[in-house]
């Protein structure tokens, strides 16, 4: 519990900075969007589009005249920001002890290594939860001037659930990196590599039909904003896959950290 509280306090600043970035992002983009909202000429243009063409080209027409369409578009960016923040929290929580030369101190405390990881992981988890909640609240406040309907709030709820799942995946990956990397400096850079790699894969997989299989390798493609809106629920297979990744990463994190030769 002490470790948990200490970690919460230590990561408060980082949480505030990430929330600041997010706040700035939502405010700026909403300001841009306000020029667009409710413009009937835009709607008329989109209505003239033949549906099969959109499907054939694998393009979803975001109906940008409604807030819901606008938030469909925002999904990828929320996932990206949330994923990065969570991966950083996960890897940093563990590796910073070695960087700041405090790992011997925390391990002479009368707690097992398992307990240390658990406390740290919980702190990172709480950060992630707070981050999603802040996104949710700020979004509700930011779009209030556009008088969103009930459908929007339903969609926002499921979008936030998807964002949270992505955060959890990256948190678990970050945790594993922090625990498993022999050199603490590598955990951060490997996390960058994974984030960039999965992001590029998600772009690639949309570009061509035969590269579609790539979507299994990138969490950013697990949930599709359009599908979330149409079905109103998260894809079962993707949820299973996400749960699998999280369980494997977290288990591996505990196993490796217990056997780790720590850098002091």
């Amino acid at each position: 519990m002490n470790i948990f509280l200490h970690e919460m306090k230590a990561s408060l600043k980082s949480l505030l900075i990430w929330c600041g970035i997010l706040l700035l992002f939502i405010i700026l983009v909403t300001a841009k969007y306000s020029a667009f909202a409710g413009d009937p000429s835009m709607l008329a243009i989109i209505d003239t589009l033949p549906k099969p063409m959109i499907d054939a080209m694998n393009l979803r027409a975001f109906n940008l005249t409604t807030v819901t369409g606008f938030y469909e578009l925002m999904y990828l960016y929320f996932a990206l920001i949330g994923g990065i923040a969570a991966a950083m929290w996960g890897s940093d929580m563990i590796s910073k002890e070695e960087r700041d030369r405090t790992v011997e101190f925390s391990l002479v405390l009368p707690v097992s290594r398992n307990k240390v990881i658990t406390a740290k992981a919980l702190a990172a988890l709480v950060n992630s939860i707070v981050f999603v909640m802040v996104t949710w609240l700020v979004s509700i406040v930011a779009v209030a001037p556009f008088t969103p309907d009930q459908a929007f709030f339903d969609f926002l709820r499921i979008e936030m659930a998807a964002m949270f799942t992505i955060e959890l995946i990256f948190l678990a990956i970050g945790l594993l990196l922090g625990c498993a990397m022999k050199q603490y400096k590598r955990s951060g850079s490997t996390a960058v590599a994974i984030i960039l790699g999965t992001y590029f894969l998600s772009v690639m997989s949309a570009m061509q039909e035969k590269l579609d299989f790539l979507k299994y390798f990138t969490p950013f493609k697990y949930f599709d904003a359009g599908k979330l809106l149409r079905t109103g629920q998260m894809d079962g297979n993707s949820l299973l896959l996400s749960a699998g990744i999280i369980v494997v990463c977290v288990t591996a994190a505990y196993l490796t950290y217990n056997k780790r030769d720590l850098y002091i």
Binding site: I21, V29, A31, I46, M53, M88, K96, S189, V203
Partner: protein, 269 residues
């Protein structure tokens, strides 16, 4: 400028430069390997796109980029190259001074017979050289992938050179801004979250700002100062934005020197 510091700094980044260069090479080959399939469907695609309303194309950022041309496709890939280069430059900028203070080597370094100005200049030049080596790799690989995969498609090498030169401005921007932020905050414990926050923040803003057209987001994100799609479309830089970009870089660098010369250095007590 001290040759020892320069050599040490440059050598300590070799590994990182190598990894970034390999990653960038991989990305370019990976994306360009599907260029021919794309280009083969070019006529079909353009025909389809022509029937889309301009506003919608803009929403997908496809109004500027004609992906059926070599340079259009390259500009699309180049946005990802830019993102990587920005993170690399941000890493070097944020780490330039803070790494000494984290590893408690700042007092050792400052006890050497070099002035702080010399120290900062040597470090900056070393980081810049490391960035330049990475850029050189991108230059070579860019021409290579285009030669290999372009088939019979033509392109203007002048515009390509413009794009490639823009890397220097982008990296200088992120390195200088990173450096000045690292000097402004009390302590940078870990470089990665900072540089990721800065680069991805700017990248996401640029990506979203493309959707909504005319609002003034262009001014605050360097990815818009050096928008590859716009460079390819106009075969020229957007001069006011480029000047703004350079001005921010210069201000950041100048204030870094000013702050660093007056900085209270944390030491082992």
């Amino acid at each position: 400028m001290s040759a020892n510091i320069f050599n040490f700094e440059f050598r300590s980044r070799l590994r990182s430069v190598l990894i970034w260069s390999l990653a960038l090479t991989g990305i370019m080959f990976f994306y360009f390997s599907i260029f021919q399939t794309f280009a083969a469907q070019a006529a079909l695609m353009n025909e389809l796109l022509a029937r889309f309303p301009p506003a919608l194309l803009e929403a997908f950022g496809m109004n500027k980029i004609d992906m059926s041309t070599v340079l259009g496709f390259y500009a699309f890939v180049f946005t990802f190259i830019q993102l990587c280069l920005a993170i690399q430059a941000g890493n070097y900028g944020f780490g330039l001074i803070s790494i000494e203070e984290n590893e408690m080597t700042a007092d050792f370094l400052l006890s050497k017979p070099v002035s702080r100005t010399q120290l900062l200049t040597s470090k900056l030049l070393a980081a810049l050289s490391s960035l330049a080596v990475t850029e050189l790799v991108v230059w070579v690989v860019s021409f290579a992938v285009i030669t290999i995969f372009r088939d019979s498609y033509e392109y203007q090498s002048g515009t390509l050179v413009l794009l490639l030169v823009s890397m220097l401005f982008l990296q200088l921007f992120f390195m200088s801004v990173g450096l000045v932020i690292s000097l402004l905050v009390k302590r940078v414990r870990s470089v990665t979250p900072y540089s990721l926050g800065l680069s991805f923040g700017a990248y996401v803003l640029a990506a979203v700002s493309g959707v909504f057209g005319e609002v003034k987001l262009e001014y605050i994100t360097p990815f818009k100062h050096l928008d590859p799609a716009a460079i390819v479309q106009n075969a020229a830089y957007n001069t006011p934005l480029l000047i703004l970009n350079i001005a921010i870089t210069v201000v950041a660098l100048a204030s870094s020197y000013w702050i660093y010369l007056r900085r209270d250095i944390p030491v082992v007590s």
